[in-house]
């Protein structure tokens, strides 16, 4: 099919490995996302808390800087770097990540469904599972960059500055950071893709994502007050995630009780999270088809 010949010729060159082909979907999605300047700006802004936390850890280990800034504390050190610090930082980053995915997630699949490009994609050697994994990789990469990597960097910075076996005695925290991040990536990623697949209109899909996290608490409170129970929290995904994270970061029960996040048991919280993920997968399975079938 050389241009100068203007005749068709078959392709006889090499091909890319099949197992990595889903990454083409991710790569093109990234191209699309970072074409937008506001998106790129917001992505960069997501690293501001990381810089602040980095500075906090540094200051907390530098007596001279503390002296220079006049930070001499009586009683408990407000700059203590412990499980609360990492839980708080991870929580803050997770919500920034959530906002970022609310922005970009809905267009991941909706763009392919809006003008029926999905049959073209699925007519290639790409399965539906690979398609979902390819799109999920985008969410996972963004959230890993915003949540997981910065928190781990801070963790190892703290370990380096603290020394004296801090790393070994707190290694469980690294595990918690990784597992908590993976759970958040799975939850947010699947909900973003499912809403994107069900609502072709991007704004509506973003609104649905926000509704799941912000209308849920209202619904939970209404159910709790009406039925005089705590089981209404099963409608509040954010609450269930908080319960699990607090458990992972070994926050004492009294503190959780004081913060009113002990009203749902840990197994129930896991069931809520798994339930939302399963529902999202079910919706994706129903929606992501090369051809709609009218059953008679």
């Amino acid at each position: 099919m050389a241009v100068y010949k203007r005749s068709y010729r078959a392709y006889e060159g090499s091909t890319t490995p099949e197992r990595r082909r889903f990454l083409v979907l991710s790569r093109y999605a990234f191209f699309g996302l970072f074409d937008s300047r506001p998106f790129t700006a917001f992505f960069v802004l997501c690293f501001v808390p990381f810089l602040l936390a980095f500075a906090t850890i540094y200051i907390s280990h530098s007596p001279s800087v503390k002296l220079l800034l006049g930070m001499q504390f009586q009683g408990p050190n407000p700059l203590a770097i412990n499980n609360y610090f990492f839980a708080f930082f991870l929580g803050a980053q997770s919500w920034l990540g959530f906002l970022l995915i609310t922005w970009c997630g809905p267009q991941l699949i909706a763009a392919d469904l809006a003008n029926s490009a999905l049959p073209l994609i699925l007519s290639r050697p790409i399965s539906r599972t690979e398609y979902v994994i390819g799109k999920l990789t985008v969410v996972a990469t963004l959230l890993t960059a915003i949540m997981l990597l910065p928190t781990l960097i801070l963790f190892f910075l703290q370990a380096g500055l603290e020394g004296h076996g801090w790393l070994w005695s707190n290694l469980w925290m690294a595990g918690s950071i990784i597992v908590a991040s993976i759970m958040w990536i799975a939850v947010v990623g699947l909900i973003a893709l499912a809403s994107s697949a069900w609502l072709k209109w991007r704004v509506a899909a973003s609104a649905l994502m926000l509704a799941i996290f912000f209308v849920g608490p209202g619904l939970a409170t209404a159910v709790n007050l009406t039925l005089d129970t705590n089981w209404g929290h099963i409608f509040d995904l954010g609450y269930a995630v908080k319960v699990i994270w607090m458990g992972m970061f070994r926050v004492p029960f009294e503190t959780m009780h004081r913060l009113r996040i002990a009203e749902l048991s840990l197994p129930a919280a896991w069931m809520v999270v798994i339930g939302f993920c399963a529902a999202s997968l079910l919706l994706l399975n129903r929606r992501l088809k090369a051809r709609e079938v009218v059953r008679g």
Binding site: M1, A2, V3, Y11, E12, V24, A114, N115, P119, R124
Partner: protein, 320 residues
């Protein structure tokens, strides 16, 4: 190995009792046959199951019964492998509106397995080839309907498939755009070893491009016909109107080795063997002082073939 087995092995597509069901409704019913043509037309009225057959061959719908093979490979067990060999142009709109033409075609080529650099090169070539070279950097969403059809064709050929499925390729095109599309399809068909399957309800499209046709009616095969062979046969079947002494002329024609039948008033039908050219008839007529006032090739058009199939002729044995 028997002839039938060899015939099936050499087929582009073999259908072996293929049935497809959507819920309680059976859309394709026990399709059996072998298709060998370079360009195969899939004809049938709306709702006859043409697109369903293409989608089933692509692996979008699972067969409820039976199966099919493409280039000898089972569509159930080699679905992924086959999809790498196929280019697909769907009937309805299918594009990503905020991508430029070249990026869209490159994306699709990369999904088919081409490395990025080759995909980009082939995307440019494919767009030039279908006539969209000048607008390849424009977003696909801004293309006209005809351009969208052509970009669908470009993405179907960019990765250099061995088989192309074109589902209603001329839908919604104005006459010049339709002619361009037909010309491109014919060029693709003639240029290389590629095989093309065109699903259409427009007889003219199929007639101009295809050498074999499968006609579907209500999910059944109403007929499979080798148009090329039909045309070759028709080229030797003549209808004449003469003025002069017809009996003597008919005898002379028969002595030449042709079959000849008289219908009175100078009308006759002649079947020429392969070795005899039409000018021999003129020479004979001249020697006998007979005027040939009209000579027609019998033309059993695709429309006739289609209508026969729709009436049920050939439905029993699957061939016309």
């Amino acid at each position: 190995m028997g002839d039938a087995a060899l015939d099936f092995m050499n087929a582009v597509i073999q259908l072996d009792g293929l049935s497809v069901r959507f819920g309680e409704r059976t859309v394709l019913k026990q399709l059996t046959g072998a298709l060998h043509g370079r360009c195969i037309g899939l004809l049938g009225p709306n709702g006859s199951g043409k697109s369903t057959l293409l989608n089933t061959l692509l692996g979008f719908f699972p067969p409820a019964q039976g199966g099919a093979r493409i280039f000898g490979k089972d569509i159930r067990t080699h679905s992924r492998e086959l999809r790498a060999l196929i280019g697909y142009m769907p009937e309805s709109d299918a594009f990503i509106s905020n991508m430029s033409g070249v990026r869209f075609v490159r994306y699709m080529a990369e999904l088919s397995g081409l490395p990025p650099r080759h995909a980009l090169e082939r995307a440019h070539e494919a767009l030039f080839y279908v006539g969209l070279g000048e607008v390849r950097y424009r977003k696909v969403g801004t293309y006209s309907l005809g351009m969208k059809q052509l970009v669908k064709l470009a993405q179907a050929i960019a990765h250099g498939p061995r088989l192309i499925f074109l589902d209603e390729p001329t839908n919604g095109l104005d006459p010049p755009a339709r002619n361009r599309m037909i010309q491109v399809i014919r060029e693709i068909k003639d240029a290389s070893d590629i095989r093309v399957i065109i699903s259409s309800h427009l007889l003219r499209d199929v007639d101009e491009c295809c050498d074999e046709v499968i006609i579907l009616r209500n999910g059944h095969i109403a007929g499979i016909c080798n148009i090329e062979e039909e045309r070759r046969t028709n080229r030797k079947f003549l209808e004449l109107e003469t003025h002069g002494e017809e009996q003597g002329f008919a005898d002379a024609v028969q002595q030449l080795g042709c079959e000849c039948a008289l219908f009175g008033k100078g009308r006759m039908k002649v079947v020429l063997p392969e070795s005899i050219e039409v000018r021999e008839l003129y020479r004979l007529a001249a020697t006998r002082d007979l005027q040939i006032r009209r000579m027609n090739y019998r033309r059993d058009s695709l429309e006739d073939i289609f209508l026969k199939a729709m009436e049920g002729v050939g439905a029993r044995n699957g061939s016309l």
